[in-house]
């Protein structure tokens, strides 16, 4: 018999205190910040079918005050929707169709690979804060929020929640998330999530994209026809490496080493390479109608939500 496995971190009982927003970020997750988040809404450019009544235009026709179209009357239609004025002019029966207002499902994907657990400040902690904030924006706009953590080759999906009161459930799901110890295949995780996805809506990927198949992962997620937004999170050490001398750089995920001589020219070349990589990622995202937002992990959460994401039309 194998030794009993430790209980998964997500299953650990969390106290009420730990579930409070202030436990995650006492400086920004205060009451005022939550009120500001409630005034935001994740932008959806296309009408999609929802599950429940909401405040977003649905692809379905239903009952609302906004006129959508006419169709011929068929047996069994509600006579209350007949347009009697047209019948008076044309002596034909037409039914008035109205726009349905439903909710959408907001998908928040958090990369919890080993590389996200590094940096100062911690990129994973930054990602969890950003995920919590965006989830609250979705909950406050009567949308369903589906949270998933990408590790290894799978996307661990949490049950979708709805209503601002479920923010504590979201926080409880996010708090125990730890960076993976092994390598993570981002494309495989994206493919896995895409295969589980049933309802379209805004999809936000929070990741450092340190993966050979990062563009493929973007392609997989964009293929779900969700409105994809990518928060590319990098720490200051990755933006401006404080390296000097002859070094062997060890990958935190794979343990692979790279020998470099870090001098001024090498650091300059790294910066150029980083810029080219970000440009390529942005081009790939734009090509697939996805929003690409590069954010350093030092960026305050309020600046991220109210400045960067607004500027990129991710929230409005």
């Amino acid at each position: 018999m194998s030794a009993p496995r430790p209980a998964p971190a997500a299953a650990e009982p969390a106290s009420r205190h730990d579930l409070l927003p202030s436990a995650i970020d006492p400086t920004v997750f205060d009451e005022a910040f939550l009120r500001q988040l409630e005034r935001l809404m994740l932008v959806t450019r296309k009408a999609v079918r929802g599950g429940m009544k909401g405040v977003r235009r649905s692809a379905k026709r239903g009952v609302s005050v906004e006129f959508a179209d006419y169709r011929n009357y068929t047996m069994g239609d509600d006579l209350r929707t007949l347009d009697w004025n047209i019948y008076a002019r044309l002596e034909k029966l037409f039914i008035k169709l109205f726009v349905e207002e439903e909710d959408v499902t907001v998908h928040v994907l958090l990369d919890a690979s080993g590389s996200m657990g590094t940096g100062s400040p911690d990129k994973l902690l930054f990602g969890k804060r950003a995920a919590a904030a965006l989830a609250y924006v979705g909950l406050a706009s009567y949308d369903r929020v589906s949270l998933a953590v990408l590790q290894g080759r799978v996307a661990r999906r949490y049950p979708a929640v709805r209503g601002t009161g479920r923010i504590f459930q979201v926080l409880a799901d996010l708090s125990p998330v730890q960076a993976a110890h092994g390598p993570t295949d981002l494309a495989a995780c994206a493919r896995h999530y895409a295969s589980q996805l049933t309802q379209r809506g805004p999809l936000i990927l929070i990741s450092d994209l340190f993966d050979d198949n990062a563009e493929r992962a973007i392609s997989e997620l964009a293929g779900t026809r969700c409105e994809l937004a990518i928060l590319h999170t990098l720490s200051p050490d990755e933006l401006d490496p404080p390296l000097e001398g002859d070094l062997k750089l060890v990958d935190s995920e794979t343990g692979a080493g790279v020998d470099i001589t870090a001098d001024s020219s090498t650091i300059d070349a790294y910066r150029a390479r980083l810029t080219a990589w970000q440009v390529a990622l942005e081009a790939a995202a734009t090509k697939r109608r996805a929003a690409y937002v590069a954010v350093p992990s030092t960026l305050p959460l309020a600046d991220l939500v109210f400045a960067e994401l607004r500027r990129r039309r991710v929230v409005a």
Partner: protein, 681 residues
């Protein structure tokens, strides 16, 4: 480009070694990063894993290879040849006299002379030899046929400045002797040529002269003496100041008594004249008087360019009264000479009454004139014509008309004593005792005057009666008595006279002393021990520094006591030196003598530089048939500069990141801007 040490090029094997070190450099510091994704791409971009690509891009490696190559080149000693300007054998004479301390050239003439001498050595042929002679109070060979120019330069740099007058004549004679060893040698003199005296020497070798010095602004104290008035109480100071410049100046003469300022006077000194100053009434009890020349505040007079002659010291003679007992039938010459001695009380008695005389302990000297008591007193004795054999000497007969033998020039008792006109009709023939030295030798080893330390007591014996000689009628008589009293009373007249720098001085040993300990003005202590048992004096030669020297007696070690024998206890001075110590005094001061070393040489103080023509004229014509050598100029100076430059560039390249951060922080501090955590994208 010729090389002196081509084997050093073997050091080029270090070049591939350095390349190998770069290739094999495996020690790297491990650093965990979030992902090596970008770094791997970067390495692929740079093709850094290819060794030769990495080497091609390493500026540090290039600099290090270049540095090693230049160092190897420096070790190989590249040089250029050119015709030498000097002979193969060079005798270099460097004037180190006091006038070379003049500061009319920076920093002084001697340093400039050394610099010029080192520059001249560059013109020495490659196989040339140089001998160096330093001309100070005496000529001294500093280096003999040195072929290493670096060593020669070090030896030149080590030549000290002397406070004495230089004897260029001796130095040129020595240089001539050194030049005579090799054919074609030449003499090069580096001097200020300030002395007006032309050395009386002619050399076979040609003489070249390099002169240093430009100006002649100097004022000097050329005489300083303490004079005692006729009463023996009043003392005055005589100072003579010479202005050796060609323009009038104003100087302040400061006089210090025992280190305390006593008086000061502003002197207007006409050009090329001496000004004498007499200062009356020195402070009572003063032992040392110092005179200084200083600039007058606010005066427009040019600065004095030679400081060695701006200070002088004089020893004030003791004013303690000493008692002398004259025993004999009565001798007016002796009485007059003794009574004329300063600070002396003369008492007299006859031979008959001597036995009844009490209080002999109170006398400092007993003079026995033709008389010998049964028991000699335990006091210093001056005996004249002892009638019989005694511990003072064995009388073996008489001498009729004895002639004076060859006199030692260094005899201190005969200082300034002219014996050429002395005639002696009759004298006692006395064998010279072992404890004595012959001061005035007579015929066949019989001394006419001898002196020494007998059982710890200073004793002098004159073998003839004054009435049998015309000595009392000569000028030499009172001088001889003064010199004798100086030795017998412990009052060495020689220590009152200024001593020339570098000149030896005879220091008389007090009874019971085992030597002298001399403390120089600069604190250097020298212990002098007499070379022979019973010697009455020691010679001190370390008078190179100007100032007041202090000589004190070293107590003699107790003699081992023989069984059954009761050694005669050596009398020791029970009194300590008086609080106001005199220059030289009686028994209590015998353990404590001062003497002053002063320049007092107007010729040396005249620092007007010459053109060296008269020194050049002392040399002979150049030797015919001697081939001009080839001089080599090594390139180590530019090579060393290149090495330093390369090191600087390498350090800058290696530390450029750190240097850039330091610069950024400094700029941020200076402009009060907050430091940025990262580089803005």
């Amino acid at each position: 480009m010729p090389l002196l040490a081509p084997l050093a090029l073997a050091g080029l094997v270090f070049l591939p070694l350095i390349v190998a070190f770069y290739l094999l450099r495996l020690r790297r510091t491990e650093r965990t990063v979030s992902s090596t994704y970008l770094w791997q791409q970067l390495v692929r971009d740079l093709e850094a894993n290819a060794p030769w690509q990495r080497l091609r891009r390493s500026l540090l490696l290039f600099l290090q290879l270049l540095l090693v190559a230049v160092l190897v080149l420096a070790a190989a000693r590249p040089f250029l040849e050119h015709p030498a300007g000097l002979a193969r054998d060079l005798i270099l004479v460097i004037d180190a006299s006091a006038s070379m301390g003049a500061t009319d050239v920076f920093p002084d003439r001697l340093t400039a002379a050394k610099r010029a001498a080192k520059e001249v050595l560059a013109g020495l042929p490659a196989d040339g030899k140089v001998s160096i002679v330093a001309a100070a109070e005496t000529a001294r060979v500093v280096a003999n046929e040195v072929t290493d120019r670096g060593r020669a330069a070090d030896l030149i740099a080590g030549i000290p400045l002397s406070n004495a007058s230089a004897d260029l004549g001796d130095a040129l004679k020595l240089a001539g002797a050194l030049a005579a060893r090799a054919r074609g040698a030449e003499v090069l003199v580096v001097t200020d040529d300030a002395s007006s005296q032309v050395p009386d020497v002619h050399l076979a070798a040609p003489v070249k002269v390099i002169t240093v010095g430009r100006e002649r602004r100097n004022q000097a104290i050329v005489a300083l003496a303490v004079q005692t008035g006729a009463g023996g109480v009043k003392r005055s100071l005589f100072v003579s100041v010479a202005n050796l410049d060609t323009q009038a100046v104003t100087r302040r003469l400061q006089v210090l008594a025992d280190g305390a300022a006593f008086t000061a006077r502003d002197l207007f000194l006409d050009p090329l004249t001496r000004t004498d100053v007499v200062i009356d009434e020195l402070p009572a009890g003063a032992a040392v008087v110092e005179a200084r020349l200083a600039a007058v505040d606010g005066s427009a007079s040019p600065a004095d360019q030679l400081t060695a002659d701006d200070a002088a010291w004089a020893i004030v003679p003791s004013d303690r009264v000493q008692r002398i007992l004259l025993v004999g039938p009565g001798n007016v010459y002796l009485q007059n000479a003794l009574s004329l001695l300063p600070n002396v009380e003369l008492y007299g008695t006859s031979g008959k009454d001597y036995a009844a005389t009490s209080g002999l302990d109170k006398f400092d000297l007993i003079v026995l004139d033709g008389f010998l008591p049964p028991t000699l007193p335990d006091k210093p004795i001056l005996a004249l014509a002892p009638p019989s054999t005694s511990p003072l000497g064995t009388v073996v007969g008489t001498l009729d008309g004895p002639a004076i033998g060859t006199i030692s020039a260094d005899e201190p008792l005969l200082h300034d004593v002219d014996l050429t006109r002395i005639h002696i009709a009759k004298a006692q023939r006395i064998d010279l005792p072992q404890w004595a030295r012959a001061v005035i030798p007579g015929p066949r080893g019989a001394p006419l005057l001898y002196a020494g330390v007998r059982d710890g007591l200073v004793t002098a014996v004159m073998a003839f009666d004054l009435h049998q000689s015309d000595l009392p009628l000569q000028v030499a008589w009172p001088i001889l008595i003064a010199n004798l009293s100086g030795e017998l009373l412990g009052r060495d007249a020689s220590t009152l006279q200024p001593v020339r720098p570098g000149a030896p001085i005879e220091l008389l040993l007090s009874p019971g002393s085992g030597g002298m300990r001399v403390t120089a003005p600069d604190g250097l202590v020298t212990e002098l021990v007499p070379g022979a048992t019973g010697a009455s004096s020691v010679t001190f030669v370390g008078t190179g520094s100007l100032g007041v020297y202090r000589a004190e007696s070293i107590p003699a070690a107790p003699k081992p006591t023989a069984s059954g024998a009761s050694p005669n206890p050596t009398p020791k001075p029970t009194q300590t030196p008086s609080p106001g110590p005199s220059g030289s005094a009686g028994p209590e001061a015998a353990a404590f003598i001062r003497f002053a070393v002063d320049l007092f040489d107007p010729i040396e103080s005249n620092i007007a530089p010459g053109d060296g023509a008269r020194l050049t004229a002392l040399g002979g014509p150049p030797a015919t048939g001697s081939e001009a050598g080839v001089a080599r100029d090594e390139w180590w100076v530019p090579v060393a500069l290149i090495v330093l430059l390369l090191l600087l560039v390498e350090w800058t390249v290696y530390e450029r990141d750190g240097a850039r951060r330091i610069r950024d922080r400094l700029v941020a501090l200076l402009t009060l801007q907050p430091l940025r955590g990262g580089r803005p994208r």
